[in-house]
């Protein structure tokens, strides 16, 4: 069976695309799939750092496209998680060295080798975005609960629909306390504007910074709420579509459910 290409995109920068790519890729590999995470941010590569694989890069995606190496040579195997591979971006080139045709060609090769190919799209809607979505079967749009990120995500959703890709939404960095105070958009507010299928909600988590700096995938840390949320998103992508969406901060204890059911508490 051919693998699925999932592009992770957002429009706006700094909303957590790379973290999401690394986490979802690692989580899918932990579920037993053969996964390649591909850094499409040519010239500003980050995914290798987040995965802690920066010192093992020999070849990159530009080398594959220019036939300087094979896909297998460029794919770096993660030593902690079986079946997780990274195809890094080039740090010295710019986005114009890739073309949609070239990306489609290696996408076909990757599909034969892997079950899931997770592509980390750069910010923006220019050439880098075009290259990332050109071969994608599915898309995950990452959005933080703020007005500017929602606006950009909305634009990207429109562009994805124009390419006949139906995207799913991940709302990242939710701060339940701020939402409760009304200082932050709730995921319902975001959904009201974007109105696409929700893939998951990820809470704000300090562990993300630690994980990014140490290169230990977030989903390997059991104490990370964001890591757990990404694992659930991966399970949803991996066939468990009915897995209920957990709302960060919502009280799900037995006593709370009991009082809520009997109308004692809202």
């Amino acid at each position: 069976m051919e693998g699925r290409i999932i592009v992770i995109t957002s429009g706006k920068g700094g909303v957590g695309k790379t973290t999401a790519t690394a986490s979802i890729g690692a989580a899918l590999a932990l579920e037993g799939n053969r996964v390649a995470v591909v850094d499409m941010d040519i010239g500003l590569r980050n995914l290798d750092v987040v995965l802690g694989l920066e010192n093992r890069i020999v070849f990159n995606i530009v080398d594959v496209i220019n036939d300087r190496c094979t896909v297998r040579q460029a794919a770096i195997r993660d030593r902690r998680i079986e079946n997780l591979f990274l195809i890094p971006a080039s740090q010295s080139d710019n986005k114009d060295v890739l073309t949609p045709t070239g990306v489609k060609r290696i996408a076909a090769l990757l599909k034969k080798e892997f079950d899931y190919i997770i592509m980390d799209s750069p910010a923006g809607i220019e050439r880098g975005f075009e290259n990332s979505v050109t071969a994608a079967d599915e898309a995950l749009v990452i959005c933080t609960p703020d007005v500017s990120a929602v606006r950009d995500a909305d634009r990207v959703i429109g562009l994805l629909y124009a390419r006949s890709i139906t995207p799913k939404l991940v709302v990242n960095r939710i701060m339940p306390a701020m939402v409760a105070r009304g200082d932050m958009l709730s995921h319902e507010d975001v959904m009201e504007v974007l109105s696409i299928e929700l893939a998951g909600l990820v809470p704000m988590d300090d562990q993300v910074v630690i994980s990014t700096n140490t290169g230990v995938p977030l989903v390997m840390r059991n104490d990370s709420k964001a890591g757990q949320a990404f694992r659930r998103i991966a399970r949803r992508l991996n066939g468990e579509a009915d897995l209920p969406i957990e709302v960060p901060g919502a009280k799900t204890g037995l006593w709370n459910r009991f009082t809520h059911k009997f109308g004692l508490k809202k």
């Binding site: 929602v150 606006r151 429109g158 504007v193």
Partner: protein, 229 residues
């Protein structure tokens, strides 16, 4: 000698809550006044505070004469309001109305672009005339129409109705919270973006854009018949 077969220059008729005077404006003013005095003296106290309509026989351009006679009647007989006969509907307007009613609106003059769905950020929709969207307009989306813009959903984007210079256009939305509104050459920003339970619409009133409760203001409820726009 006054000829008896000369038709009277002034006729008086009681209508509803007042009097209707038909006169021949080509006759000298003094003669008209004399005849009026004769008629009004007979009315006695009935003339006091009465509504009087002076009709110069359907002809136009005798406003001064009507004004003079009105003042004369007011001082001499204490009548209330003196006015010209109400204007009849113009022939052209009346013809359109008849056409609308008889044809049952089967022949439309209207051009409406009707869309269904969500207009997202970065998408721009232009319509030559009116536009009707059953769906939402997101922030960052732009709608431009030569006529009215009607949104059956949330309006959060940027809208320009009556483009380029038709200030009679309106913008209506079930949930009216646009980023910016333009009607013809007028623009408005910083509108109250609180969610209300009311259907609101924007129109140009006195050189500025005003947003009102649609059902409260009912802008088209008093039109005499349904118009094709």
């Amino acid at each position: 000698m006054i000829l008896d077969d000369d038709p009277p220059a002034v006729k008086l008729k009681g209508v509803g809550d007042g009097f209707w005077i038909t006169l021949d404006p080509s006759r000298p003013e003094q003669l008209l006044k004399d005849q009026l005095v004769k008629l009004f003296e007979r009315l006695k106290h009935l003339a006091i505070n009465a509504k009087v309509v002076i009709d110069p026989g359907g002809t136009e351009g005798y406003d001064d004469l009507i004004q003079n006679l009105g003042d004369f009647l007011k001082t001499r007989f204490d009548v209330g309001i003196v006015s010209k006969p109400p204007k009849k509907r113009q022939v052209a307007v009346e013809r359109i109305r008849q056409k609308d009613l008889n044809r049952g609106w089967t022949r439309h003059r209207s051009e409406v672009l009707m869309l269904r769905g969500r207009v997202r950020s970065g998408q721009k929709i232009e319509a030559k005339n009116h536009i009707l969207i059953t769906g939402d307009v997101n922030p960052g989306a732009q709608i431009m129409a030569g006529g009215d813009i009607l949104i059956m959903g949330r309006l959060l984007g940027h809208v320009h109705a009556g483009y380029p210079d038709n200030p009679s256009a309106i913008i209506l939305a079930l949930d009216f919270r646009p980023t910016q509104v333009q009607i013809g050459e007028y623009a408005a920003t910083g509108l109250d973006d609180k969610k209300t339970d009311r259907v609101e619409f924007a129109s140009v009133i006195k050189e500025g854009i005003t947003v009102q409760d649609y059902l409260g203001a009912n802008p088209f409820g008093r039109l005499p018949w349904p118009e094709v726009v």
